[in-house]
Every structure is written in C-alpha cells, then in structure tokens.
C-alpha cells in the first residue's frame, strides 16, 4: 500500500452534522452532535493524506526488549487478544501477558492496585474511555504521545493520555429462521423504529442498561443524546414488546443464534460476526445514527515496564497494529488510513447483499458530563421503563 507525504492539516476526519443530514430534527440543534464519517469512501479518501508511521525509536525498542515483557489488562476476548499480541511479540520480541476480565471490575482492580502501590499493569484497556478521566487527573496515567497521535481521529483520543484502538458499532441483530413475512425488509427500512413495532412481541431480547458501559452509551443516545427524536416514549414502545432482558450480551446472542429470539438490539459486530462465520443464521443492520463504543488504552503511570508499554502503544496504534486487529474482529479503525482487508476484498458479510456499513457514528457521549455522572441516573429510569431489577 502506498502512502503520500505527511499533511497534518488532513489529520482531522471529515465531520458531518447530524442537523445537516436530518433537517427534520432541527430541534436537537442545541446539542452539538458530532458524527464521524467512517464509510470506506471516507477512510480511503483521507488515507492518502498520511505518511507511514515512522519506525519506533531504536532506543525505545532496545529498552523495551531489555524489559522483555508487559502486562495488559483488557476486556477483549482472550483468544483474540492473545493472537493479536502475538503479532507484537513477533515484531519486537517482547512478551505480552494479557489479563482478561469483565471491563469494569478489571478497570477497578487496576485502580485499586495503583492506589495501594501495587503495580502490575503496564497498559490498561477499556471500552469506556470516560473511565480514564479521573485516574488521569490523579496522576495514575502516564503521559505519552505515540508517533501515531496525529493520525487518530480527534474525538477518539485525549492526546497524551488515552487513545482509541478500535470502534464497535451497535445495531440490531436477527435470526433469519425466526423471521416471518416481511420482517427482514421491515428491519432494513425502519431504522431504530423497527424496535417499536409490536410484531416482535414475545420473540425479542435486549440487554439491561446496567450491564455495562457500552449498553449505557447505547441507551444514553436514545434517552439523552437524541432525546427529542426518541426519548422515553420510544423505549416504552420497545419495552411493550416484552423483550427478555439479559444482564450480559454474549449469552443473549448465543440464544439469538440458537433460535430463541427473532431480534435483539445492541448487537455489535463482535457479537454477531463470529456467529455468522460459524454458519449461524444471524444477520444485522446498523440503523442510523449508530451508537459506537471506543475500545481505548492508556499507560499506567507506574508501569513496571514503561518502555515496553510505550512500544506497545506505538505498535497498537500504528497501521500494522490496527490492521492486525482487524484479522480477528471487523471493528472500525480509529485512524482513516487503516484498511480492513476483508472489506476491501468484499469478503464474508461484506459480500452479502443485506450488509451495509454504518453511516454516522454516535460518539458524543464521550464528551457529555451527564454520561460520566457516577450515579448513572439513566439506569434507574431504564429499569423503570422495562420493569427490571430493583424497580420491578
């Protein structure tokens, strides 16, 4: 792949205004809704603007090799993570120990370890980068600007603190064996309003708002971000379909694939792609706008292997690093010059007529103070609407 000369001015991806694309909803203009255009066109269009990342500093590589190893705390699937890290080890000869756990407990554990001065983790990954705010303010996060910094979309990083690795989109998944009549056409033409239709009653499932950051971001879009377009009224209609409520997404999609449900929302590519590849009768759509989750990483201020951590940061944000990840999961890259080989070659679902890329991504919650409110008031409201948990 060829690369053009560096042009820092093009480092900002093209942003489109939600207002502009949906004029009928001018009422929400008071909230500035940002969109990142991530279609292949956009990505390919700007990729030419970047140079290849400069090779990492030889001194850094030497220092990292001397440390020999690093530990990453991650919420990502362990096999994928191990395979991905193996590419890094292959390139630089530095071992990676990946510790996987559920996202929030994992992050919390790192914080507690740092608070009492036990330093194990070098690199911390999370799918909720707002979590980084408080530790960054308290000095638990190292300040390091990898050479890929300018290439990353601006809303997918806090320069020097954390950087997004890849973006997951959340849409609606369905089991073709459980559809009847014009169900599939309906799903593809009605956007998010699909969920509000009574036809799904008794054959649908969703995930509780309390289940994690990605779910919270998803519900945040309907309840706060796009309150005027959707809001509680929309969720009430969805709730009226009596979806089974899961507290964890993966078992839900296992059951979707098994045929227990016709549709389920909050389906990420990661959830459904692997099932599709195994031959399960599942498909998915990304209604517009598409809520996205940003898996991000930061370096611990007291990383026991600071150089290895930096080198890992350099590699994971570089084009080869991000491209390597796409081998295992077809998420969106966080820089425009990374090309998903499967997409480029129209492989797998990219070849399917039913598949369409998300158009506009909803990532605004990252800058919303209401989103970071530790009391998470939306959970109680959501529970009330769906008659779930403590509120039941």
């Amino acid at each position: 792949m060829e690369h053009a000369t560096p042009d820092s001015g093009a480092a900002v991806p093209r942003l489109a205004s939600w207002l502009g694309s949906v004029p009928a909803n001018a009422g929400i203009g008071r909230r500035q809704v940002l969109r990142a255009g991530i279609g292949s066109l956009v990505a390919l269009g700007v990729s030419r603007a970047f140079a290849a990342d400069p090779a990492p500093d030889a001194a850094l590589v030497a220092a990292a090799r001397k440390e020999g190893t690093l530990t990453v705390y991650t919420p990502s699937e362990i096999d994928m993570m191990v395979n991905w890290c193996a590419s890094f080890t292959q390139t630089y000869g530095v071992q990676v120990k990946a510790v996987r756990g559920p996202g929030y407990p994992m992050f919390d554990r790192w914080l507690n370890e740092e608070r009492v001065g036990r330093h194990f983790a070098d690199v911390i990954q999370t799918s909720d980068p707002t979590l980084f705010d408080s530790p960054a303010a308290k000095g638990f996060l190292a300040t390091y600007k990898p050479s890929a910094d300018p290439a990353i979309y601006p809303q997918m990083k806090r320069s020097g603190t954390w950087y997004g690795l890849h973006v997951g989109y959340m849409g609606i998944g369905y089991n073709t064996h459980r559809l009847v009549g014009d169900d599939e056409a309906f799903i593809h033409t009605h956007g998010w309003d699909t969920l509000a239709d009574p036809r799904w009653r008794g054959r649908c499932a969703t995930t509780a708002a309390a289940s994690g950051g990605s779910t919270y971001a998803y519900d945040f879009m309907f309840m706060v971000g796009l309150k005027d377009r959707y809001g509680d009224a929309f969720l009430r209609k969805w709730a009226a379909n009596k979806p089974d409520i899961y507290i964890s997404k993966p078992p839900l999609f296992d059951r979707l694939a098994a045929g227990q449900y016709a549709i389920a929302d909050e389906a990420t590519a990661a959830d459904l792609e692997s099932l599709y590849l195994k031959g399960a009768p599942v498909r998915w759509v990304f209604p517009d706008p598409t809520p996205a989750i940003l898996t991000s990483q930061g370096i611990s201020a007291h990383a026991p292997h600071p150089n290895a951590a930096r080198l890992f940061s350099e590699w994971s944000l570089s084009v080869p690093g991000q491209t390597a990840w796409l081998k295992y999961e077809s998420s969106g890259p966080t820089r425009p010059d990374v090309v998903d080989p499967r997409k480029a070659n129209k492989r797998d679902w990219f070849a399917e007529p039913w598949y369409t890329d998300p158009k506009t991504l909803y990532l605004d919650y990252l800058t919303e103070p209401a989103f970071a409110d530790p009391a998470k008031p939306l959970i109680a409201a959501w529970n009330k609407i769906f008659g779930y948990g403590d509120a039941s």
Binding site: D79, V99, P105, D108, N112, A205, P251, A280
Partner: protein, 590 residues
C-alpha cells in the same frame, strides 16, 4: 535427668509459684497445659484470622464505605446497609432467596435421603455402581451444569424443547429452564450428592436392632422406614438440609447463568452483578454479603446443633453388625428407575449437551442439521492459555486440598483432642466461610492480600480456596476424629510416644480413609471453583474454571463447553487415582 532439665525449660512460669522446698523434685514436672493453653490456639487463631476473619472484616468495612476501600474519596456511610436491610426491593429479594434456597435444600434433602436409604438399607442391585451414579454430579461444576441445561431446555431454542415440539407438533410441553422453577430444578440436581453424603453414613451406622424391633412389632417396611429409621437419622437429615441451605444461598453460578434472560431476584446474583455490572458498587455487594452472612450464620448454627444431635443418635461401635437389608421385591425396578432418572437428568443429558456444544460451530436446537466441527476442540487444546491454565489448575488442585486438609485436621485435633482454650470460637470461625458468597469472600481476600507478595500469583487462589473449603475439611476431620476411640491414642502415650508420634502413627493413620475422601472432595471443589477465582485471576494464575467463565462471558458457549469437559476429565483422572491407587471412597463407610 536429661528429661528433667528439658522439661524445666518448658515450665518457667509455673515454677515461680512452686513452694521452695519442692524445687528439686518438681523441676521435672511439665505443666501440660502450657502448650495447649498458648501456642496452639494462638497460632491457629492467627491462621484463621488471616484466612477468614480479615476477609470478613473487609467485607463489613466495605459495606460501610461509599467507595472502594483504597479510594481516598470514599467516606463512611450507612446508606448501603440501610438500603439493603430496610428497603423493599432487597427485602423482597431476601424473601425470594430464602424461598429458593429453602426449596432447594428441602427437595435435595428429600431426594438425597431417599437415594441414601435405597442404597444403604435395601437390596437394590449394583450398589457400588448406584452410589457412584449418585455421587457423579459432583464432578460437574454447577456452573457448567447450568450451561448444559440452558442448551437443553431454554424456551423455544432448547434442544429438548425443540425435539419434543417437533415430535408432538405442539409447543405445549415446552420447559423454561430460565424460570424460578427451572433454577430450583437445576440447583436441586446438583446439591443432591451433598444430602446423600451427609445422611448415608448415619443410615449405615444405625443399630439394626431398632429396625428389627419394629418389624417384630408388626410394622412393615415403609412404616419402619418412616417411623423408626428416618426419625433416628433425623438430626443427620436436618444437618443436610441446613448445610445445603447455606451452600445454595451463597451460590450465584446457577441462578446467574440460568436467570440471565429472566432476572430471578437472588441475593447472591445481585452481589455478583454489583461487582461486575455498571456502575460497580462494592459497597452494595458487601452489604448484601453481610446480609447473606447473618442468614448463613443462623443456618450454620442449626447445622451444628443438628449434627451434634446426629452423633448422639447414631451408635458407632466396633462390633460388626450384619445389616439386615430391606427386600424391595417388586419395587426394585422402580427404585432402579428412580436412580436412573436422576442420573439421566444430572449427568447423561448435561454431558450430552456439553459434548454436543463442544462439537458444533454454534449453538443450535436443530440437532439433525447441526454444524458439526472439531475446530473448538483443536482451538482449545492448542491455545497456550489453556495449556497454562491446565497446569495452574493441577497445581491449585493438588496444593489446595493438601494444605486445607492439614489445617482442618490441626484445628479438629486442637479443638477436639487438646481442648485448647477458645476452641469453641475457633470452631465457629472455621465454619464461617461456608456462609459467605464466594465473590464477597474473594473481595475480602483481595483486600487482605493486595499488599502481600502472593497477590497476583497462584498463591492467592490457593489461599482463597483453602479458606473457602476449610469448613469441609474441618468438619470431615472432626467427624473422623470423633470416631476414633481415645484409648487407641492413650495406649500410644503409655508406650512412651509423644503427642506428635501418637498423632502421626495412630491418629492420622486411622483418620486416613476419611482424610483422603476429604482430600478428593476439596480437590474436586478447587478444580471446579469459579466465583472466588474470577476476581483474583491475573496473567500468572488463570485456571480452567476462570477460562471457561471468560469464554462464556464472551459468548463462546462452545469453548466453555470444551473446557467444562476438560475439567471433568481432570477430575476423573484425580478420582480414579484416588479410588484405585489410594483406595479412597467418597462416601465414608461409618
């Protein structure tokens, strides 16, 4: 004279109080209380403090804090406790939990006692095989069993449901395993062996003349069983009930796996969710933990009371009774069928489901058109983290029971034989862990050991498991000790053997069968354990159970199933070694 001087060194304090005239003569007298009064209880107390009391302390402390313990922004508050102890949602959840645990304990005990009676007191054929069948569910972690049942009987997509509806052409007979009833059913299946274990020893050791007298008074088999046999072992039955009650109320795996689509209100599940879901609330999980703790403490007290009474009733004598077995005659076939149905539900179907899941590309209810593959097996068996976790599992599986049994025996010996001061207290504390939900306990262990070198290593898992299973090791050790006639040890003392030599040459040798079966039990638990391990896992100490949990957490039921099967293979190898090399039986002949 050498002995005299050695003894004098051990008795400095008492010597001061002796009258002057006796000094020469009495210098040789050992105040025998010295060792038991001080060294033993203090060191055992220290160990128990580190293993049990400190984690519990951190649980209570956590319930009083507004944020994580190490978070400087946290402050003391009663909000969490007030919320959990006084508000309606929690009280309702408490009601549900008590009802479910009570129901599970009642059903598991009823079935376990029936099976124990059939196997111990009747002429049911192939007894050893039957007993093996009843104990076999112990090899399947309840968590994996729940996954299997989800594959079998989830509404609409459960394999059994689909087969039945295809055959009958109607969905009328659909089973919903994700309902409170389903959870009750699966929990009952996996707790029956505990009831069986608790009661069968008692049933075997009743003086048969009780029953013979009943027959001679004209009572039939059923009447004798109901009016004589069961009342005599009633304390054992009660202790089985409370034991299972305490175990279930702190277990989250089955309701968490099965209740995912239905949200069954269960305290232990809420604890799990408070530590895993958004936003994480350790205060809440600790507060619920304290609530469960009090309930379990009450359960443990009842259990202790009942098991004490059980000992009174049961005659353990050296005389070899010729047990008169009840002739089942025509009831033999139904009796065998009953065991068969249990084995089918607890073992055969779940393992078929696991094998099915392990051999398919994704979970589907359509068995005929299932996408068969060996890829899951290949993937799992070649993954480096699996190899690593197998060796970690084996390491934990061998060290944990060894240390745990050693500690349990020391405790039982100190309390029962040396009658150390504070023995009653030690006895209570040793039973505490059984009443604390695994996750809350693991959180306590986390805070206790965060600053020590074992944190982040395999050592912390071993410590957590030792503490969690100490109650089992201690109880079994205690029971075994009770059954050893003291004169066997006294005879050794009089032959000039010291405490240590007596303990090692006589007491421990005689306890060996019981201790080996306890070892196997704790081995099984350690290989299976999930809840305490999840929170403490790190890159260096991942074990199979955590790996399968992680796979499931990422929706990979297939790999989780492969790991579940792998665990069973390891357990079976361990048990086969135990059974045929060391000649251990899981159920102890009384």
């Amino acid at each position: 004279m050498t002995m005299r001087s050695a003894l004098a060194m051990r008795a400095p304090r008492a010597r001061q109080s002796m009258p002057q005239r006796d000094m020469s003569e009495l210098a040789g007298l050992l105040p025998r209380q010295q060792l038991r009064r001080f060294i033993m209880p203090v060191s055992l107390g220290l160990i128990l403090s580190l293993l049990v009391l400190l984690p519990i302390f951190f649980m209570f402390l956590g319930a009083l804090r507004s944020a994580a313990l190490a978070d400087p922004a946290g402050h003391f508050t009663l909000v969490k406790l007030r919320q959990v102890y006084t508000t309606l949602p929690y009280l309702r959840m408490l009601g549900y939990s008590l009802a479910i645990s009570g129901g599970v304990a009642a059903m598991a005990t009823a079935i376990g006692v029936s099976l124990a009676w059939l196997i111990a007191r009747t002429d049911i054929p192939a007894k050893r095989l039957m007993e093996g069948a009843v104990m076999a569910p112990l090899f399947l972690s309840p968590f994996v069993g729940a996954i299997a049942w989800l594959i079998l009987a989830s509404p609409r997509a459960g394999v059994l449901n689909v087969i039945v509806s295809e055959l009958l052409g109607t969905r009328a007979f659909s089973i919903n395993i994700s309902s409170p009833g389903g959870i009750l059913f699966v929990m009952t299946l996996y707790y029956i062996p505990y009831a069986y274990l608790t009661v069968s020893a008692s049933l075997r050791s009743i003086d048969p003349s009780f029953e013979e007298a009943s027959y001679l008074n004209g009572a039939g088999v059923l009447r004798t069983a109901l009016r004589i046999t069961l009342p005599v072992v009633r304390p054992a039955i009660l202790s089985a009930f409370f034991f299972i009650f305490v175990l279930t109320i702190g277990t989250f795996a089955i309701p968490a796996v099965l209740g995912r689509g239905a949200h069954v209100p269960f305290l232990a599940v809420d604890i799990f969710e408070a530590t895993t879901n958004y936003p994480i609330d350790y205060g809440k999980s600790a507060a619920i933990g304290t609530l469960v703790f009090w309930i379990s403490l009450a359960g443990v007290s009842f259990y202790r009371y009942a098991s004490k009474a059980a000992r009174r009733f049961v005659t353990v004598t050296a005389r070899g009774y010729r047990m008169r077995l009840v002739r089942l005659r025509g009831a033999r076939i139904p009796a065998v069928l009953l065991v068969g149905v249990y084995v089918l539900l607890a073992i055969v179907l779940p393992y078929l489901a696991l094998i099915y899941a392990a051999l398919t590309r994704f979970t589907t209810a359509n068995v005929l058109s299932a996408p068969w593959t060996l890829q899951n097996m290949v993937d799992v068996l070649t993954a480096p983290e699996v190899t690593e976790s197998i060796s970690n599992t084996l390491l934990v599986g061998f060290i944990t029971p060894t240390l745990c049994i050693a500690l349990g025996v020391c405790l039982a010996y100190a309390i029962r034989r040396l009658r150390v001061p504070g023995g009653r207290l030690l006895d209570y504390v040793a039973m505490f862990p059984v009443g604390i939900p695994g996750i809350v306990f693991a959180t306590g262990i986390f805070w206790t050991y965060l600053l020590t070198p074992i944190y982040g290593t395999i050592g912390i898992l071993i410590v957590a498991f030792i503490a969690a299973y100490l109650p089992f090791a201690y109880r079994i050790g205690d029971t075994a000790l009770l059954q050893i006639d003291r004169v066997l040890e006294e005879a050794s003392s009089l032959c000039g053997a010291s405490h240590w030599r007596t303990a090692s040459k006589v007491t421990l040798r005689l306890m060996r069968p019981a201790l080996l079966s306890a070892w196997i039990m704790v081995f099984i638990f350690s290989v299976r354990e999930v809840s305490a391990a999840i929170l403490l896992t790190s890159s260096d100490n991942i074990v199979l159970s955590v790996l399968s949990w992680n796979y499931l957490d990422y929706g990979d039921v297939q790999k989780a199933a492969v790991i579940g099967l792998l665990q069973t293979v390891i357990l079976m190898i361990g048990v086969v070694i135990g059974r045929f090399v060391l000649r251990v039986r899981l159920s102890r002949p009384a």
